[in-house]
Subunit: 477 residues, 2 copies
Amino acid sequence: MVGNRNYSLSPIIMRMAAVAIAVLSLAPAAQAAETGAPAHGVGAAFLWIVIILLAAKLSTLVERLGQPPVLGELVMGVILGNLFLTGLDFFEPIKSEPIINFLAQLGVVILLFQVGLESNIEEMRRVGLRAFWVACVGVIVPFLLAMGLVGPLLLPGLPFNTYLFLGATLAATSVGITARVFRDLGRLQTAEAQIVLGAAVIDDVLGLIILAVVSAIVTEGTISVGSVSWITLKAFLFLAGAVVLGQLLAPRLGALLSKVHTGTGMKFTLAISFGLITAYLGEQIGLAPIVGAFAAGLVLDPVHFRFFEEPEIANDIRDNLHDAPPAVKARVATVLERHADRHVEDIIEPLGHFLAPIFFVITGMAVRLETLFNLPILLVALGITIAAFVGKIAAGLVAGPVNKSIVGWGMIPRGEVGLIFAATGRAIGVVNDEVFSIIVIMVILSTLLPPPILTYLLKRDRSVGLPASQPAVSPEG
Amino acid sequence: MVGNRNYSLSPIIMRMAAVAIAVLSLAPAAQAAETGAPAHGVGAAFLWIVIILLAAKLSTLVERLGQPPVLGELVMGVILGNLFLTGLDFFEPIKSEPIINFLAQLGVVILLFQVGLESNIEEMRRVGLRAFWVACVGVIVPFLLAMGLVGPLLLPGLPFNTYLFLGATLAATSVGITARVFRDLGRLQTAEAQIVLGAAVIDDVLGLIILAVVSAIVTEGTISVGSVSWITLKAFLFLAGAVVLGQLLAPRLGALLSKVHTGTGMKFTLAISFGLITAYLGEQIGLAPIVGAFAAGLVLDPVHFRFFEEPEIANDIRDNLHDAPPAVKARVATVLERHADRHVEDIIEPLGHFLAPIFFVITGMAVRLETLFNLPILLVALGITIAAFVGKIAAGLVAGPVNKSIVGWGMIPRGEVGLIFAATGRAIGVVNDEVFSIIVIMVILSTLLPPPILTYLLKRDRSVGLPASQPAVSPEG
């Protein structure tokens, strides 16, 4: 609209007009005026959303091959993101569109919030210690492997600090993909899934500490124990605070809300607000927003945060039962009551449906197939990738009496966290172009291989946990 | 996350790192690197979303006063947006945050798509001609009033072109607020609502033509009949194309989708994609995106675009009916089947719940109370506002045998369209600061007054259309 109607705003009146227009929600004009960003209309973002959603839906054809939808979304993203290699660069603008990237972030945050809501906090407590060991082994083994062995072996002659950074890159787990695979296959309540999720949270804290330490060593040559302790303390205080506060407040809030008669809208708003605020605060501390969102979902105990809504069908059924035997009536009344007890996940689900595919298609689009064309780099990258995989599979070995391969493969995806490490390393000058490409390939393989392999492992191990047809949350906990 | 981990990226490696990071959905870094926009993390947008949603929910207390929620959202927006007058400028960044403004736009587009889905296309056809007259009178009367009488009278001595632009500003209707009031009160199916919606679509086309003509007169001193005809033709072709294509495709697509067994996700994706694509194409033509979204919703006939989903409760009820008389069983089976027939609006609803309040709070935030402090300007603005109101109320008089006041007041909101006109006028130098302030006040009053007045009129006129408790869509049309 703006693009067409807003002929050529002269710079003199730009500011005032921009404020008036911006706040009346015509983002592009405001963006152009105030930030200098390109002023493609909101329509362009609509178009990209449609393309991504249609691509994501088309990709669910992989379900016919027994694969989880997330794999289809990633692969479709890889295709869209690399079509430019054939000369078709129509989809390239999606990669740098801030709005799409924000929606993707919001999507993965809501996904992890849902995963938290559907996780069983008791189970999580029960496996907590094992998750801690999995996280520690999964950080230390790949770090040492890359820094002390595979790095110097495959990439000889580089400074020690480069190996240090390579090790740090291999340490981080990005839990979004694994969480989605478990969820797609209905296995989120298994001990394996809960161990991986718990370990990923601890992993993120460890990753934060490692990055701080490694960066300090490289830039200042020394570590300040005080600042590292402070980072660690903040992260633990945040997580502990979220858990304690959530556990204290959720039941009270739930009790309060069931007294005042509020619509589902109010519970939806409070739940999603708690999730986003915790993601925001986590980010302020330096943690991944998804870790905050997961913690928020975990502490919002569904039992306290449910709401009652008579199913639409209820009156209709009662009307048709007036001449049924009293015993039948009574039983149906119990059924109606049971189904009136809805949970907050149900109302958040459609939002996740809309936004989560955006994250996975965009993640797939990040895969740069041309990095795979350089054979020497590719071979070294394969070596580093094997180290990365071996380190996490080793972590699975300390997971206790569960399917250890599932835990190990669940820890493998590195995603954006590995790339942030790599980018930081470039920024402070210890990661060169070659090492950067190698890390990108490692991230690609650790993103694309786990979904099919996890699917295979989960299907083989049908004895693990609940069957896929079980409802995602059992209200009586 | 980026803010904390992504220390100082040196410009040299900026580009490559930015691409890698951006596409792995870390919007802020990419934004900073590629567009020069400020790199506040995605977290900031999370915080603003939470504040807006909580404010919107808090505002629904107005429902206790018998007012529609949209009024509460607007008023809450006015409060948040003007707190800076008391020195509290914490909320100011929301106004220029592109992501929030995009979500607001997406919210109003989805709202109008929902309104289109819930509108009855037969009723719309039946009232089509009357809507056309309402639109024409509603554009011509305020235009002539402002240009020929009230403008020269209250603001003497200004160039003719200024009066011309003032008239154009008063002509445009912004239908989002009215649609929401009708919807909040469950009166979307009334003839009055359908006339206002139809007239608003035609209004937008007329507004497009007027803006083109007036701009041409002012900048070139002459009108090219060819270019104006082309603009008109494009707009009509687009609307006719959407209606014809939609009517042709929707039944076929519906039939196809009910043959292949697809989940609700597929129908949701196709429906929302059609809505957003039409909004995008409408914007490309120069129409408001909401007009495209409304047209899309209107042609997606719910009868063809429904889906079947056994209610969750079904098996449970059947299990408890095994010993009931066969007649009861049969009747309950019919009930279950009836409730399995869901419509696409149901799955789009939660998205609207999340996004629409963002639009209305942001619209409220655009209200600049300080413009009301200058008494001479305020008085002139009141005169112009009265002309703006009278012109639209006159339009209601040609609405035929319905409640004419409801139609007239429904046409009053000007919203962002008026401000775009005003900004365009400033850009080409015919609208000065004083006139701009006057237009802003007119827009404020035309935004805030109609919701309570419409609510009063609708409640007084209970005989009009369906009672509020009626379901929003009757499947059998």
